[in-house]
Structure formats: structure tokens, C-alpha cells
């Protein structure tokens, strides 16, 4: 046996585990040259259960006990299912207030399953043979003869098909195979309408009043108080509408009142009404609704990824991953003293998309 490192890779016959097993547990380093050689599988150490029938009997009782416990737990499961009402809430220390039914069912089911598992594992560990044995591995690769045979068979098959010789057949077949999946692709076309310009517009039109979603009444300038965020939606929108979710996903509006001289952006001031300004509520990052307003700074914060917009400065992004300012809606007050829109948003609301421009 040579002694360079790594030589144990190519083990010689006389070093195979079975041959060496008998001198395995001497532990002593015998010949210097052989110090790193594989001593072979250590001898099997018997367990208590292998030597003492009393201990084995004990293990048997433990395993059987676990299986019996599992049966009892299943009975408990059925009993809980039948007797407990779904709505009943109980206090269980330290878990807190929980549904009694859920707790009882989960615990009994869990116990029934766990005991089967614990029994089986205990059985395997204490009573089944734990002698380690080696099995041979064989290389995954085929032998050279098999390989040669397969290649020859394939060549013969390919030759018999005349695949290589009749190029016309081959090429048209490739063409047909390449084209036929197109039908499957075409069939997906009706998954949805084409986008067209639909992402560029919202439900807002000139002359629409700004409706308070809670009361369903149009908002007056007096309703917009300094320091708070007021939400609004277009008129005639009902939760019962089929497309309510689609419409509100783009039209949701937030309104604030800012002292006109605090507004840094001239256009923003012009597009509002005496410091009352309306912005899209939909974040320009990936579209979460914005919900947090800090009245001193007039910053709004998107709760999803913390993009922060300055409502006193044209809705500009001042922090976070959003890529552009919040779109503003031009508003004014109509003849009856209600806030109204002067048209749709001038640019698309919500997240950016390729055609946005």
C-alpha cells in the first residue's frame, strides 16, 4: 500500500472492510507507513436490548404504549369534532385566546400522528438490527462495450430511418414541429384585452365632484381640514359595480389642505383650490395605496416600501424606491360650492410601464 495522501482512493483488495474488520478496534498505530490507512468498519457494539431480554421487553412496552396513545388521541379527535362548537373561544395558558375546536382537533391529531412516528422510530432504534453493512457501488457510466453497442444500435436505427440522407424530410419535419406549438401560443391571446391606452386614463372627467367614500356625498372645501388626509372617489361609483375594483385601483384620490404660501411648486398651487390639492393615492412605485400623512412636513408615506412624497412640492419623491412624482388632479369649486375635477390626470397614475413615456 503506497502512502501518499489520497492513495486510499484506490484501495487494494486486502484493505477492504470485511478483511480488516477484525483488527479495527485495536486503535493502535501499527506500522508508520500504514498510519493513515483505512482500518475498516469498526465492530458492531451491541445495545442493551441486544443482550438483555428484560430491556428489550421494556422497549416493546414503550412502543406499544405509544401506539395505544395514538389510538386514544384519534378517539379524542372524533369526540372533539362531535362535541365542540366551531365558534367557541377559550383561554389557554400560555397560548392565549384560541378556538377551542381548532385547539382540540390540532392537538389530538398531532398527538395521534406523533405517537405513531415516535413508536416506529423507537422500535427501529432499540429493537431492529443496527448492524451497519457495506454495499458495493457501481459506476454510473456504462462499460465501454455497452456504450459501443448502444452507439452502434443508434447509428443503425438512424441509418435505417434515412434521416440523415433525406434532408428534405428532415427539414420539413423540423419546420412542422417548430410551428405546431404556435397554435398553443395563439390560443392564449384571449387571456386578456390588449392594453391600448387604458392605463393612461382614469375615471375622472371634467366637472365630476369629489365624493367622500364614507358618506357618498360630494366634498366641500370646508370638509378638507388642515393636517389630515381626506380620501375621495369619482361620483356614481358603487361597490356593487362589476368593475369597482378596477376603477378604484386607478381613481383613488387623496386631498390635503396646505397653506398656499407653503406650496413650493407653482403649478401645484394653480391646480388646487386655495391650497386644497388632490393627488393620486396610488404609489408610483408598484402601486400600493398611500396612507400615512405627516402634517408638519406635508410628506406622505407609502406603507409598502416607504417611498415618501412631498405634497407641498408637486408630489416629488424625497425618499424610497419610487421613480417619479405622484400625479396631481386639477380641481376647483363648482357653482354649488362643491369640489370638482377639471379633467382627468395629466399623466398615467400608479406604477410605471413601458409605454408610459
Amino acid at each position: 500500500m503506497s502512502s501518499e495522501p489520497g492513495s486510499h482512493e484506490d484501495m487494494s483488495e486486502d484493505n477492504l472492510p470485511s478483511e480488516r474488520a477484525h483488527d479495527a478496534h485495536h486503535g493502535a498505530v501499527a506500522v508508520a507507513g500504514d498510519a493513515f490507512a483505512d482500518p475498516g468498519l469498526p465492530a458492531h457494539l451491541p445495545r442493551r436490548q441486544d443482550l438483555d431480554e428484560q430491556a428489550a421487553k421494556h422497549s416493546e412496552r414503550v412502543v406499544a404504549g405509544l401506539f395505544v396513545l395514538s389510538m386514544l388521541a384519534t378517539i379524542g379527535f372524533i369526540a372533539s369534532y362531535v362535541t365542540l362548537k366551531p365558534g367557541k373561544i377559550v383561554y389557554i395558558f400560555p397560548v392565549g385566546h384560541v378556538s377551542a375546536l381548532n385547539f382540540a382537533l390540532g392537538l389530538t391529531l398531532g398527538l395521534a400522528l406523533f405517537c405513531i412516528g415516535a413508536g416506529a422510530v423507537h422500535w427501529a432504534r432499540t429493537l431492529m438490527s443496527d448492524v451497519e453493512t457495506p454495499a458495493e457501488r457501481h459506476p454510473i457510466e456504462a462499460s465501454p462495450e455497452v456504450r459501443a453497442q448502444v452507439i452502434a444500435d443508434f447509428k443503425q436505427g438512424a441509418a435505417e430511418s434515412q434521416f440523415g440522407r433525406r434532408k428534405l424530410i428532415r427539414n420539413t419535419m423540423f419546420g412542422a414541429m417548430a410551428m405546431v406549438p404556435l397554435s398553443g401560443l395563439v390560443l392564449l391571446r384571449d387571456l386578456g384585452p390588449l392594453p391600448g391606452k387604458s392605463l393612461r386614463t382614469t375615471a375622472w372627467r371634467k366637472g365630476m365632484t369629489l365624493i367622500n367614500p364614507n358618506t357618498n356625498l360630494p366634498l366641500r372645501p370646508e370638509d378638507i381640514t388642515t393636517g389630515s388626509l381626506t380620501f375621495a372617489q369619482p361620483p356614481g361609483l358603487s361597490e356593487d359595480d362589476d368593475d369597482f375594483q378596477d376603477v378604484i385601483a386607478k381613481a383613488a384620490l387623496m386631498i390635503v389642505r396646505i397653506e398656499p404660501d407653503e406650496i413650493k411648486d407653482k403649478r401645484e398651487l394653480d391646480w388646487g383650490h386655495q391650497g386644497i390639492v388632490a393627488f393620486s393615492k396610488i404609489c408610483t412605485h408598484v402601486g400600493c395605496p398611500i396612507s400615512l400623512y405627516e402634517q408638519q412636513t406635508h410628506h406622505v408615506l407609502c406603507p409598502c416600501h416607504q417611498s415618501t412624497f412631498d405634497l407641498a412640492d408637486g408630489g416629488r419623491v424625497i425618499f424610497g424606491p419610487a421613480g417619479h412624482a405622484l400625479p396631481q388632479l386639477r380641481i376647483s369649486v363648482n357653482g354649488s360650492g362643491y369640489l370638482e375635477a377639471l379633467g382627468d390626470f395629466a399623466e398615467p397614475v400608479g406604477p410605471s410601464f413601458w409605454e408610459r413615456g
Binding site: P5, Y81, C115, P193, V286
Partner: protein, 549 residues
């Protein structure tokens, strides 16, 4: 007549007397050939190590997910038809919601055991993904992905990626405020794809977001398409594990040509079968005491409402981190918009990282030039560069997870969200490199310790006073099995390009790829990548010099 017919008669006669169980087996064998299969597999040897159970956890949680998922399909209505809630949960009575949300409420409050099954399904999904993550780490750090197991690494990798998407689509099904926010996130990410993004989004959602289709579409993806593919991959994965036979750690009597352990029947049947019940039992108990995804607290989805502190399931957290840390770059040109702030992290970075993980086995064997089969596992310390890379990757992933919770972190520890975000941005680049360097050092330190142990024996903790007054600690020599275990690994030399000038002094052309490969090989296997392991000569010299204590 012929002798063969007699032989068949003999067999039939013998089988006629067999016990009932054997008769059934004979019947099946005559049609399915089960004896051939059983001969190869019934007493198949499996080696034992705690880390080999990680894959089993994945398998069992998958089975649990299927079982509970089928049960859920019996009660869940995948429809976005709007209804008014009139169930027993008072706070939501009279609220408009989709039928999907309504039926999930029904499962949670009226179907007896429904809540339990929902919670088991969801907990099992978390365990499934966590299990795959850790299992993958195990395979990576021990080099179990090397030839002949590269393909099985790919199967496992696909299972992990598909698992994430299956989890995400399932999480979205109840159509609650929290998951809806996640779906909106996904829609925003799809919109950021250049050129085709808007179209993809319209086709997926059947028009504008949210539309009336995504729940039923996610439903068929979630319960049929992805689980179907995953079941196929899983079976293929297991077949390959059987076919290749399990890897094993080095140790006395173990080598590249054998596998040492205990037979499938009975020990592994009992242990693995039992382990399924243990996993199922533990998840059931967790589902009994720990509530998960209480959708009634979030309410139904509305695109103009949001719950604060919204967090996805853990396995999606890294995408949150990526997108939160990324600056909001956006480019407008020729009437088009490129939302790089979303597209770079989710459309480029994330797939790129996944690709590196997927092709790692091929990368490594390309660099090492090693095309041999490997069945003996590496101890992580003995492959310091690989281990360092793996730890660097995990660190990067953790940084992303932290970034995904930056708001929670900020409010919890009273930090500014700005600072947390900047910390994440810097850590994103720096932390993996630091982790790599530290890990490599630790590995080398451990190698040095192994070397000392082999050469000088194990410290016994017993102090002896020599006649001239010096104190020494008694070292006990290792037994040969231990010495073998600690020296069994290879320390390959990096593949060299060879001289750049041939013997006639003519410059050889070396293409840049070969040069790169040589550089990588030098880093991975060259000087500084390992502590030379002791040789038997060194060992002999020292042991004879010191004598025996």
C-alpha cells in the same frame, strides 16, 4: 413435452402452497415484475447522518400539503364574484368581498376542522420551503452535488423555485388585503418588464388590475400546474437518489466504492416512515396553537386600502428587501419608460443569482477539471472557498431579508428608516465579501486543528508535571479510524495552463476563458486555499520522536 413446461408446472405447484401474502406478491410479480424491483431495493443500504433527514422533511411536508390541499379544494370557491358577508364573524358582517374570501371565511369559521387544515396547509408550506432551503445548503456545503449528482441538483433547484411560486399563488387565493397587496407588487413588477410588461400583465389579469380573473387563474396554477410539475420532479429526484445511492461521510470502512449503513427494510422503512408521522404530528400541533394568516383580521382586498407593516411569507422576503434597497431609477426616452428601480432587482438580479446557484456544480467542475464520480462528502472546512461562497450567499440573502423588514427594524429599534436602508445598501455589497473572508479563515483554522490532532493527538485535559518542573498537557493519540477520517479528503492542485511560451520560445495563444479558469482554480485550490494535511511520514516522525505518553 418440452422441459420448460415441466419447469413452469413446478413453479406453479410450489407457489400453490405459499402463504396468502406471498400468493398476492406472486400474482403481482407475474404482471408487474415486482420481485426484480424488490431484489434491488428492499434491502438497499442507506447511510445515516442527521443532515440526511432534511430532504425527508421536504418530502413529507409536500405530502402533507397535497393531502390538506385536496381537502381545501372541497370547500374553497376560486371566484372573484362579489358577495356580502353574512357568516358568524361579526366584524365583517355586511362587508363586500369576493367569493374566494367568503369561502375562506367559511372554511375558517364554519367548516369544523377547516381552520386546522388551512393552518396545517400554510405551516407545511413554510416548513416545505425552509426545508428545501436548508437541504440545499446541506448538499452545497458537503459537495454532494458533484458528479454524478449534478442533474439531481438541478431537479432540487427547480423544486425550490417552483415551490416559491406555488406558495405565492396559494397565499394569494383567499383574496385578502395582505395577499392582495402582494399581488399588486407582482403586477407592478411585471409592468416594469421592458416592451412586453404591459401585455403580460393584461394577459395574466385578464385586463386591468385587479380584474375578475386572477383568483381562478392562480387557482389552476396553484393546485394543478405547479404541483403537477413538482410531483414529477420530486419522483425523478427520488429515483435518482436511489439510483446513485446515497453519499456518505468519510470514515473507517467507507470509501468511494461502497455505501455503509442499514437496510431499507426494516430500519429505514421504520425510521423514515416514522419520521413522516413525526413531521405531520409536529405541524398539526403547531397549527393547533399558532395562528397563521388570520385573513379576518386583514379583511377583503381593496386596491385603495392597505394594512401597514405588510409582510409577505418569509420565502418572498428577499424580493421585498431587493426592491426596498434599490434606488428609484427610472429612465424616460422616446416615449418609453424603463423602471429600472423595479426591473433591475426583480427582473435581472434575482434571476442572475438563481442562475449561478443552478449551474454551480458545472461551474465548479469546470474550474477544477475534476470529472470523476464523488460519493464521499466533503466536510465543509475542507473546501474553504466553496464554503465561503455559500456563507457569503446566505449572508446576502439575509441582508435582503433584513432589508425587507426595514420598517419593522426601524420602528422596533428606533432607527431612522433612511439609515436602515443605507445600511442595507452597503451591506448588500460588503457583507457577503466579509462573510466569505471570515468563513474561509475559520475553515483554515479548523483544518489546522485537524492537522494538529492527527499529528499530536487529542488534548486530554490532564496536566502532568515533568521531573524538571515543566507542566505539559497529556495528548492521547487518535485511534486509526479517527486518523483515517481526518486525512481521507483530497487536496487537489489547481489545473495549470502550462507555460505560455513553448520549448521553441514561440508564444502560445491562451484564450481568455482558459486564463480565467486558471485564475479561479488558483483561488479555489491553490496556495492559501488549504492547510496541507499531514503526511504519514510526518506522522511517523512525530509519533516516534515523542514516544507514547
Amino acid at each position: 413435452m418440452s422441459t420448460t413446461e415441466h419447469a413452469t408446472d413446478d413453479v406453479t405447484a410450489r407457489r400453490g402452497k405459499a402463504p396468502a401474502g406471498e400468493k398476492i406478491a406472486d400474482w403481482a410479480d407475474g404482471r408487474l415484475g415486482i420481485y426484480g424491483l424488490a431484489k434491488a431495493n428492499m434491502r438497499k443500504i442507506f447511510p445515516d447522518h442527521w443532515s440526511f433527514m432534511l430532504g425527508e422533511i421536504c418530502l413529507y411536508s409536500f405530502v402533507i400539503i397535497i393531502l390538506t390541499g385536496v381537502y381545501l379544494t372541497l370547500f374553497f370557491h376560486p371566484s372573484m364574484q362579489e358577495v356580502t358577508y353574512s357568516g358568524p364573524y361579526v366584524p365583517l358582517q355586511g362587508i363586500r368581498m369576493s367569493e374566494a374570501f367568503n369561502s375562506t371565511m367559511n372554511i375558517s369559521f364554519e367548516v369544523r376542522g377547516g381552520l386546522l387544515i388551512r393552518q396545517i396547509h400554510h405551516w407545511a408550506a413554510l416548513v416545505f420551503l425552509a426545508g428545501m432551503f436548508v437541504h440545499m445548503m446541506r448538499v452545497f456545503f458537503t459537495g454532494a452535488f458533484r458528479k454524478p449528482r449534478e442533474v439531481n441538483w438541478l431537479f432540487g433547484f427547480l423544486l425550490f423555485v417552483l415551490g416559491m411560486f406555488t406558495g405565492f399563488t396559494g397565499y394569494s387565493l383567499p383574496d385578502d388585503l395582505l395577499s392582495g397587496t402582494g399581488v399588486r407588487f407582482m403586477e407592478g413588477a411585471i409592468l416594469s418588464v421592458p416592451i412586453v410588461g404591459t401585455y403580460l400583465s393584461f394577459f395574466l389579469f385578464g385586463g386591468q388590475f385587479p380584474g375578475n380573473d386572477f383568483v381562478s387563474r392562480f387557482y389552476s396554477i396553484h393546485i394543478l400546474l405547479l404541483p403537477g410539475i413538482m410531483a414529477g420532479l420530486l419522483v425523478a429526484h427520488l429515483i435518482l437518489v436511489f439510483y446513485h445511492k446515497h453519499t456518505q461521510f468519510a470514515g473507517p470502512g467507507k470509501n468511494e466504492k461502497n455505501v455503509v449503513g442499514m437496510p431499507l427494510l426494516p430500519v429505514y422503512m421504520a425510521k423514515a416512515g416514522g419520521f413522516f408521522f413525526l413531521v405531520f404530528g409536529v405541524i398539526a400541533i403547531i397549527a393547533a396553537i399558532a395562528s397563521i394568516n388570520p385573513i379576518w383580521e386583514f379583511g377583503p382586498y381593496r386596491p385603495d386600502q392597505v394594512s401597514t407593516g405588510a409582510q409577505p411569507d418569509w420565502y418572498m422576503g428577499f424580493s421585498e428587501g431587493l426592491i426596498r434597497a434599490m434606488p428609484g431609477w427610472e429612465i424616460n426616452f422616446w416615449g418609453h419608460t424603463l423602471q429600472l428601480g423595479v426591473f433591475i432587482p426583480l427582473g435581472l438580479l434575482f434571476p442572475a443569482v438563481l442562475t449561478v446557484i443552478a449551474i454551480w456544480p458545472f461551474l465548479e467542475s469546470w474550474v477544477s477539471g475534476d470529472k470523476r464520480e464523488h460519493h464521499i462528502l466533503d466536510r465543509p472546512r475542507n473546501a474553504p472557498v466553496r464554503t465561503g461562497f455559500g456563507v457569503g450567499w446566505i449572508t446576502w440573502y439575509m441582508v435582503c431579508l433584513i432589508g425587507g423588514g426595514n420598517d419593522i427594524l426601524a420602528t422596533h429599534f428606533h432607527l431612522s428608516i433612511n439609515d436602515v436602508t443605507w445600511f442595507v445598501r452597503i451591506a448588500f455589497f460588503v457583507a457577503p465579501v466579509l462573510a466569505f473572508i471570515v468563513t474561509k479563515r475559520v475553515c483554515l483554522g479548523l483544518q489546522r486543528r485537524d492537522r494538529d490532532k492527527v499529528l499530536h493527538g487529542r488534548e486530554t485535559g490532564v496536566i502532568k508535571r515533568l521531573p524538571h518542573g515543566e507542566f505539559i498537557e497529556i495528548h492521547e493519540p487518535l485511534d486509526q479510524g479517527k486518523v483515517f477520517t481526518l486525512t481521507a479528503h483530497e487536496q487537489p492542485a489547481p489545473a495549470e495552463i502550462g507555460p505560455e511560451v513553448d520549448e521553441n520560445g514561440v508564444e502560445r495563444k491562451v484564450d481568455p476563458l482558459t486564463k480565467l479558469r486558471a485564475k479561479l482554480a488558483e483561488g479555489m485550490y491553490g496556495e492559501g486555499s488549504h492547510i496541507p494535511k499531514p503526511t504519514p511520514e510526518e506522522h511517523a516522525e512525530i509519533t516516534s520522536g515523542h514516544g507514547h505518553h
